[in-house]
Every structure is written in C-alpha cells, then in structure tokens.
C-alpha cells in the first residue's frame, strides 16, 4: 500500500536532531528561515540528552539540552520529523530534494497524549538501550521522560499483538496497521549533523570482546550517573554491588590502529575525568583510577578541571592496559604495563571497569548524497581552516561530530558556523549573486 508522496518546502533541511542539529536549526530559525529537522530516533536530543552531567561546568546535561529541544519544538520556524530515515539527498534545478521514510510508530501522533498507560499494561519486557541495557522497557514505550515528542511507539519485533495497549489507550491512539510514510523535503540548503556512535565494545579481544562482566562503556556509565538512571545509584551490573574500586581504561577505542581508529576521539579524557569526579561525589569511599597515555584536557577550563580531579584524589596512572580478564567474585583483572615506576607488567583488580570508547561516525553518506568521507570515515571538509563546515556538495554544510570528533562546546560553535554558512548561501540565492 503505497501512499501518495507528499512534498514539503523549507529554506533549510537539518539532518540530525542532536545538539549540533538543534543549534543549527535554532540559529537559522532566529534569522527568519524555515527549517526542517529530520531525526532518525523517536526523539530529538541526540547523545547529549542521554548524558549525566557535562564538563567543565558540571551542569546536568538535561538542564542544557531540554530547553534547546523545547525551544526547537516550539519554534514557529522549525518543524521536527522524528523516526525518519533519509534515503537520498540530491540537487536538481537549484533545489535539494531529500527522500524520507518515516518509520511507523504504530501510534497516531495526533491522538497520543503521552500518558504511558499502554506502557504500564504491556506484558513484554525488552532490554532498554536508553538505560545502557541495564533496565527493561516494554514493547510499547516512550523512550525517556524528557523525550520530544512525548509519543509512544511500538517495537513490533517484540510485540505479541495481545491488544492490551489498544484496550487501555484513552484516546484510541494505537494503530497496529500503520505503514512507513514516504515523503520529500525540498530545501535550498542542508546541514548534516549526523553525530556519532561509540567504537564497538566487543571489537577488542584483548579487552574481553564485551564478554567480561562489569566491564562497561562510558555511555553506560553516563546512565549509571544520570538522575533517571537504571538503578538510581552507582552499582555494578553483574550483581548490584556498590563498587569500592573503579577503573577507567583510556583510549580503549581510539588511537588504536588495530580497531581502524587511529585518531584521537578528543572527548574521552574529559568525560572520564568528569565521571571520576561525579563518582567520587556519589561514592566518597571508592578508589578511582584512570589508566591513560596522554591526558588531553585542552578546552577552556579543562586543564584546571583535570588538576582539580587530581587534587580530589583521583589516581592517574600512565600505563597501557594490555589485557582485561574476569577475576574472582565477578571482579575485573587488568594487566597493565606501567610507564612510570619500574615499568613491570602488573595486575590490578577492580570492581568495575569503564572503557573510554571513542567516536565513530553514525552515518555514511555513500549512496545517499554526493558528499564523501575522509580516511577517518567522517565527512570530508573542503576548507578545514577558513570554512570548516563546507562539504563537497554545493549548499550542503556539516556540523558537529559528523565532521570529526568534538566536544559539546566545539560542536555548538560549529553548529553556529554551519548556520552562518547556510544563511549566507540562502542569501546568495535570493539576491542572485554568485557564491
């Protein structure tokens, strides 16, 4: 059953509803341009909304992200398209055309009031990736409490079609027959803000390939520290023990040719230091160790943040972690080559180990639009010095981690820059000048 293909017109199309995309959209909307934001997830907010607190101010991530999410969703010049996939982005006759597929939520967005009655009644539990897999959600669910839009969706792969959700929904919003929707967004300019994912935790054999209990990723630790975390406190996932000793393995997915990630991911030092600080607040008696190669605290106020962490008693050990194995009592054994002291290989045991995983791109433009990627797989910038947001495609700009690893501060600056380039491009079109 193919529906007629609708087409929507905007000045600008922003691909990605994380902090980069939202900031670009807001900066364009503030200048009076009409913007469409297309997001692949069921909610906007990107990685940032899933974090606990952010360095170096230690603001809660929600305190910064939710108002920007709300501002975008309420802005008259911005329309949000969530749960959407971009199939192609092409230019013809001076117009960019994005072919979009919106995945079915199986819930009527005009009727759903976000009351979560369906979620409470649904009999199927499913691992909740929003909580690092440490808790469960239902087959019908709202992603998290400050998701935008606040609309339920059904995960059909886990749905038994028992009909319970339709029965309890007060507004008859459940629609088991919903189909994917195809539509086209036409715009004059576009910003790619497709973000990142972590380097896979199971890729490195020496680090247990994801099979050692109580070895978790840094984003999983963000959830343990977040106000709405799975346990609402920091305990380890294998058995609920409050850890006495927590270790960070830096560069666990970066600066590592064997993983195909030779570059520095640029945020891991700082997020590890931040998490270590938050942990020492949550667990004042715990020993926290960071095994590192170089501490890269290069942003505004970051070095001072690092020195504060040292002063707080967080142990920084310059060492390469060679191997991670399961110890006794579900503890984790690290084999490390210390680079200070006498350089022997030593074994150290911790209750909980966090892998400071790096960033890899979450989107590949190949086959979708004529924008190429660099050797690092991030989108290629054609003028990295004077105009870092320019891509190879005319009128298409890039912002945030899509153009290489970056922290939030640098991402927000780059999002503003991309908005500036996009608005200048729109201006050039309307005034008929050459670029």
């Amino acid at each position: 059953m193919m529906k007629e293909t609708h087409s929507f017109q905007y000045d600008a199309l922003v691909i990605g509803g994380g902090i980069a995309g939202l900031q670009s959209a807001l900066d364009l909307a503030d200048q009076g341009f009409k913007v469409a934001v297309v997001e692949k997830d069921a909610t906007i907010g990107g990685t940032m909304i899933r974090l606990s607190k952010v360095f170096p101010t230690l603001d809660c991530a929600s305190c910064i992200t939710t108002p920007k999410m709300a501002a975008a969703s309420h802005n008259d010049n911005i329309d949000l398209f969530t749960y959407c996939q971009v199939n192609s982005l092409t230019r013809s006759d001076g117009t960019l055309k994005a072919s979009i597929t919106q995945k079915p939520r199986y819930v009527d967005p005009d009727k759903c009031i976000g009351c979560r009655q369906c979620e409470y009644q649904c009999p199927v539990y499913v691992k909740d990736e929003e909580q690092g897999g440490f808790s469960l959600r239902k087959a019908v669910y709202i992603p998290f409490s400050n998701a935008i839009p606040q609309l339920a969706l059904i995960d059909v792969q886990h749905c038994s079609l028992c009909g319970m959700c339709a029965k309890v929904c007060p507004t008859e919003a459940i629609d088991y027959f919903q189909q994917p929707e195809q539509f086209v967004i036409e715009a004059k300019t576009a910003i790619l803000a497709t973000g990142f994912k972590l380097t896979p935790i199971d890729q490195k054999k020496e680090y247990g390939a994801g099979q050692v209990a109580n070895v978790i990723s840094s984003l999983q630790m963000e959830r343990l520290l977040a106000p709405h975390g799975p346990y609402q406190r920091v305990i380890r996932p294998s058995d609920g023990k409050e850890p006495d000793s927590i270790a960070y393995v830096q560069c666990a997915g970066s600066r590592d040719l064997s993983l195909g990630v030779p570059y520095c991911s640029r945020v891991c030092c700082m997020y590890a230091i931040k998490q270590a600080m938050l942990l020492s607040g949550a667990l004042p008696l715990a020993d926290i160790t960071i095994y590192y190669m170089d501490i890269r605290a290069f942003g505004k106020g970051y070095e001072q943040f690092f020195q504060n962490a040292k002063a707080m008693g967080i142990e920084f050990v310059k060492a390469k972690v060679g191997k991670i194995e399961q110890g006794e009592n579900q503890n984790v054994l690290l084999r490390i080559e210390e680079q200070e002291g006498d350089g022997r290989v030593v074994r150290r045991e911790h209750d909980l180990v966090v892998l400071s995983l790096g960033m890899v791109p979450d989107w590949n433009p190949a086959g979708i639009c004529p924008v190429t990627t660099d050797t690092d797989a991030f989108i290629k910038c054609v003028q990295p010095k004077l105009a870092p947001t320019l891509t190879e495609m005319e009128g298409v700009f890039v912002a945030g981690v899509a153009a290489g690893p970056k922290d939030i501060v640098d991402t927000i600056a780059e999002a503003g820059a991309a908005a500036m380039e996009a608005s200048n491009y729109l201006n050039t079109l309307s005034s008929g000048q050459a670029a």
Partner: protein, 637 residues
C-alpha cells in the same frame, strides 16, 4: 512525578502557581522538594504547587502552560536554577500560553541554595526564597518589552583570521561592517604562521584569500591603525569613537619599511606581517561610528618566557616557537644538510612543550601580573610536531628531541602527525611538571647547550641531551585590551580571556547584549576553530539585527507624575547621559518641571530611585513595594 496540590482560590485577583524543579538531583539531593512544596502551598495567593524532575523540559513547561490555559493561575513562580540560565526559557513558555511573560518571578534554589547549603537549612532557605518570589509575583504588573530600531551595521574589532571571517560573513548577510584593526596589516597572528596543521596549507595563502574577500566587499569599511577610545549605547544602537593615526609603533614601522623594500604593495601579503591594508592614514583623526553589534576578535599574543626560563634571554640559542616558525618559513624548499639559524649550523634541536601553559600553583612562578596560566593553550602540541616534522623532512641530518608532559594532538588529522613525528625519528621525552627539563649552557663541550631531564618514558632515567638550539613551545595569552574591557565593561575570566555567558547555552555572547566573542580573545583555538567561533558570532549578530529592531527588557525607571516635584536629583545622579531629562508639562493649569525617562537608554540600575526624596521613581518589575514585600516574606517564612 508531579504533585498537584490544588486548593480553593483565595478570592484575590492574583493567583500564583509555584513550579519547583528537582534539577535531576541537583536541587532535590539537598532541598526536600516535597517539604518545600508543603511549606509554600498555603501562602497567600498561591493556587497550585507542582514539582518536576526538570521543569525546563517540555513536560515541565507544559505543566505551567496548562495551568495558565485552564485559568488556574495568572502569576508564575519557578523555583529552579539561576535565572541567567532559564529565565528566558520560562518567559517564552508563559508567553506561548497567552500570558504576559513578565508576570513571572524566578527563585534561584540551586546556585543560591542546594549548591551551597545542605539538609534542613537548605529547605528552609529555599522556602524563604520561594515565599519572597510569591510575594513579589503577586505585585507584578504586565510589562511590554521596549522595541527600538536597530542599525543594520556591525563593528568587528581585530582583523586577525577570526575578525576577517566575521566581517566577511556579516557583510554577506547584508550588514554594513566596520573592521577596526590596530596595526596596518590584516591577518593578525595567523599571518605570521607557516604551514598549518594538518593540511600543510600556508597560513599566508589562507590569510590572503580571506583578506582579499574582505577588501573587495563593498559593505566592509576597513579602519587600520585604529583603536576604540569611547563606547556607549545598547544593542542595535551602540556609539563608538575610534582614533585612527599614522603608525608609530617601532614594530609597525619596521614592517612597513620591510614591505616597501620587498615591493609589497597595498592589498598584498608581507610574510611575517600580513596583508597590507589599502587605506593607511596619513594624519590622526577621530571617527564616530554608530553600530548595532560589536564582535570582539582581539586575539592573542604568545607567552613571553621570563628571563632564565629554560635559559631564555641568557643565550640566543633558546628561542620561542613563534620565532622559530618565522625563521623556518624562510627555508621552505631547503632540502638536505643541516638547518641554519642565525648563521649557526643546527645539528640538533630540542623542543620543550607547555612553556607558559598548564602552570600549576606552587610549582610555576607567576608572571608579572601575578597570574599563572593554568590553562592548556591547545595549539602548541600540534604546532610543535609540525615544526619538528618539517625540520626532520627538510634537514634530515638535524636531530630533533621533544620534551613533553602530554601530547595533545586532539584535532582531526593531528594524531597522524604525532605518528609521523615518530616515524621521522623525533625522539620523545616525557617529564612531570614538578621536575621539568633543565637547560644549561655547556662550557667547552661539543654542543653549546645541554637539556637534562628525568624521563618518565624510560622509567625515570636521568638523561642529558646535547643540543645546538632549544625551542620553547610558548602558549597563548589574551591580547591585553584593558582599556576596552573597562570601556565596554567586558567580563574577563580567571584565565584572563574574555568570558562568555555560558559555554554551551550562550557560547559567543557576553552579558551585555550585542557584544559577541570571536576567536582567541575567548580561549586558545586553532585557525579552523577560530573561524567556527567567528561564524557562530556572526550568526548571532545577524539574528540580533536581522529584523531591523531589537527588544529590550522593560526593567527601566518610571516616573510617578503624582509625586515628582522636579528636584532634578535623579538626573544628576543618573550615570547614563540622556537617560533622564527634565521636561516642562502642564499639571492642573500650572507649568511644572518633572523628570522624564528615555527607556532605551535606561539600564534599570535604580540609582535614581535611591536619591528621589519623594519616592516618585521606581524600576518596572523591581519596584520598592515589591522589594519590601519580598523582605517581609523572607522574615515571615
């Protein structure tokens, strides 16, 4: 999540809704939010009390909007973080619900309570602050923002790469731009660099390209050899006085001479200086400029090592990285043999990182201003490795030693550069800040200098490295702009750089609306990062000025004509020229003199309120009556 404690209206017209935020746990870990809600629910005029994990989130804002739309409330009190963060968020939410956004009062129970107090005391203080906010909210009157025309003109201070970038972008968006530069050259510090990391582009080419675009734009007026000497006004309507004069400074004159000798004409690039501006002044003059926004792009200067710091100034064989880069730029194509510096053959060179950066109290000596540069300068690691690799490639017989604390090649393509340095057999030594390398002049040895270090890469071995030259990787310091900081009341951070309102919420703005930050005046950045920041600042300036008008907060003085007896004390006390004037008007058939306020100029400081003998003045939104009610409420709470 939300505890709704409705109660019957009290019959008064002012119906207050209180919205208390947990802020995740930032507030609720220390303030007993439930108890706080209980404490304030029976205050006079309070109709509803809600709590929410994040009141600033969409569901939180909807709580407020629903109560407004349902007619339950007509005054809003939000108890959450500092108003600097989210006052505008909540005003927006209230406005969208159809209520006047100024019928809202903010109680700061995070920065002023939960972050500084704990336990019962915290809850108690929060109760007092919320009670005060309620008392004030009941006395709030609807206000309208002051709309004033905005000039579609922006001024960029500093013509380094960030200033050039900002000027060009603003002009492309249709604004008239004044580009003010203190030297006769465009390009700032970038113009003095060699190859840029990691692309290897020549900095001179980059600068020539953007300066060319700026010089050919008919929207940009360039003011070289010019400084800002006076500043007044407000967003959309700033007035600047500029002083332009023929170049006097010795360095400038020397560079101009060099340009003449090299046959570098106007608009052309002089290595080590920048693009010579087309319009050099031949006489001193003062220029008045009316502008809508000011972009600060005043840049940085390299740290100057103290005499004796790693042997600096004690021998001419210790130089800084910027000096070395300028020397190196002179031998771009030289291949083979040894590097020559100041006529001397350099068989081996040592680079020392973190000179004037990452300084630690108790270890490093403060500078002349008594301050330490505790920050990382971010660009020096990659710049040092760039220079090291360049030396190794161009002069394979010159050996290179690199003394570092942490190698911070964080940027795209930079880590690969670090690896390239290793491949090029640059030898690395790592030191702890407590035990930095020591540079000594070695008398009678084969080499004039010796660098000794306790190398933690070889497990603390004490090593002596003989070298011909030591290069100090000096960090960045903000260009000293003390006069402008005072004139424009610019906020300066503990690190000496200009300070944004918030690194994520308002990263290129300062508290004074209409003044924006671009590039290394704010923090160390590389060229690409400075251009991003400049473009972000341009986007913000464009949003401010695009509509042709700006809206100012209505928190300005007002005169009660019933009470004003025309003493003129207010006018005398007012620090803003033109904000208060004395006007004759007719009252009951008689001519009286009374004070009159020009709202767009008034800053709402309240000095006039304090000096008025007849209490004829008040600040809208912050009236004496409101203050008194707040104090009473705190005492009573």
């Amino acid at each position: 999540m939300s505890s709704n404690q409705d109660k019957k209206p009290t019959g008064g017209q002012e119906k207050v809704g209180i919205y208390i935020c947990h802020c995740g746990g930032n507030i609720s870990d220390h303030v007993d939010v439930k108890k706080l809600a209980e404490n304030v629910k029976d205050l006079e005029g309070v109709e509803v009390v809600h709590t929410n994990t994040f009141m600033c989130s969409d569901p939180g804002q909807e709580l407020i909007q629903k109560d407004i739309k349902d007619g339950k409330i007509n005054r809003v009190v939000v108890a959450s973080c500092a108003p600097a963060l989210h006052e505008l968020t909540f005003r927006g939410a209230i406005k969208r619900a159809g209520m006047n956004p100024y019928l809202y009062e903010h109680a700061n129970i995070r920065e002023q309570v939960s972050w500084v107090h704990h336990g019962d005391q915290a809850t108690e203080k929060a109760t007092g602050l919320v009670a005060a906010a309620v008392a004030k909210a009941r006395r709030l009157k609807p206000l309208e923002p002051i709309r004033v025309e905005a000039r579609r003109h922006a001024t960029v201070v500093g013509a380094g790469v960030a200033g050039l970038r900002a000027a060009y972008d603003l002009a492309r968006r249709g604004l008239e731009v004044a580009l003010v530069e203190k030297s006769p050259f465009l390009g700032g510090r970038t113009a003095r660099l060699g190859r840029l990391v990691p692309s290897g582009e020549q900095a001179g080419e980059v600068i020539s390209r953007i300066a060319g675009l700026v010089m050919t734009s008919d929207k940009i007026s360039i003011y070289p050899c010019t400084e800002v000497t006076a500043f007044e006004g407000f967003v959309g309507n700033f007035k600047l006085t500029l002083r332009r004069k023929p170049p006097e400074e010795a360095e400038c004159r020397a560079q101009l001479k060099k340009a003449r000798e090299a046959g570098v004409g106007k608009g052309e690039f002089l290595p080590g200086a920048g693009v010579l501006t087309p319009n050099l002044p031949d006489r001193e003059e003062e220029i008045s400029l009316e502008t809508g926004a000011v972009v600060m792009a005043t840049g940085f200067k390299p740290y100057t090592p103290r005499e004796g710091e790693y042997g600096y100034l004690q021998t001419d064989r210790v130089i800084t990285l910027p000096e070395f880069v300028e020397l190196l730029a002179k031998y771009p194509d030289r291949r083979g043999g040894f590097l020559q510096v100041k006529g001397k053959q350099i068989r081996s060179v040592a680079f020392i990182h973190c000179v004037g950066s990452r300084q630690i109290p108790g270890i490093h000596e403060p500078g002349q201003d008594g301050n330490l540069n505790e920050y990382c300068s971010r660009t020096c690691c990659a710049a040092t490795l760039q220079a090291a690799v360049q030396v190794r490639k161009a002069f394979p017989r010159t050996r290179v030693f690199d003394f570092y604390r942490d190698i911070r090649t964080y940027g795209r393509g930079q880590e690969e550069f670090y690896e390239e340095a290793s491949r090029q057999r640059v030898t690395f030594f790592r030191f702890e800040p407590e035990e930095p390398p020591v540079v000594q002049v070695s008398a009678g040895g084969k080499y004039p200098l010796q660098v000794s270090v306790k190398d933690t890469l070889t497990f603390g071995e004490q090593l002596d490295v003989p070298v011909d030259l030591v290069v100090l990787a000096t960090g960045m310091m903000p260009t000293p702009i003390k006069e402008m900081v005072e004139l424009m009341k610019l906020p300066v951070g503990a690190d000496g750089f200009l300070q944004e309102v918030h690194p994520k919420l308002r990263p290129v703005e300062v508290a004074n609306t209409g003044i924006l930050l671009a590039g290394t005046c704010q923090a160390p950045m590389d060229v690409g990062e400075a251009c991003n920041a400049a473009q972000a600042a341009s986007a913000k300036a464009t949003s401010l000025l695009a509509r042709g008008y700006v809206e100012l907060d209505p928190f300005v003085a007002k005169v009660d004509p019933e009470k004003c007896s025309g003493t003129g004390l207010c006018k005398e006390a007012c620090p803003i020229e033109g904000a208060i004037s004395l006007k004759e008007r007719q009252l009951d058939g008689k001519t009286v003199v009374q004070a009159e306020i020009t709202p767009a100029l008034c800053t709402g400081c309240g000095i006039c309120v304090a000096v008025c003998p007849s209490r004829a003045l008040d600040i809208n939104g912050w009236t004496l009556e409101q203050y008194e009610a707040m104090v009473d409420a705190i005492v009573a709470a």
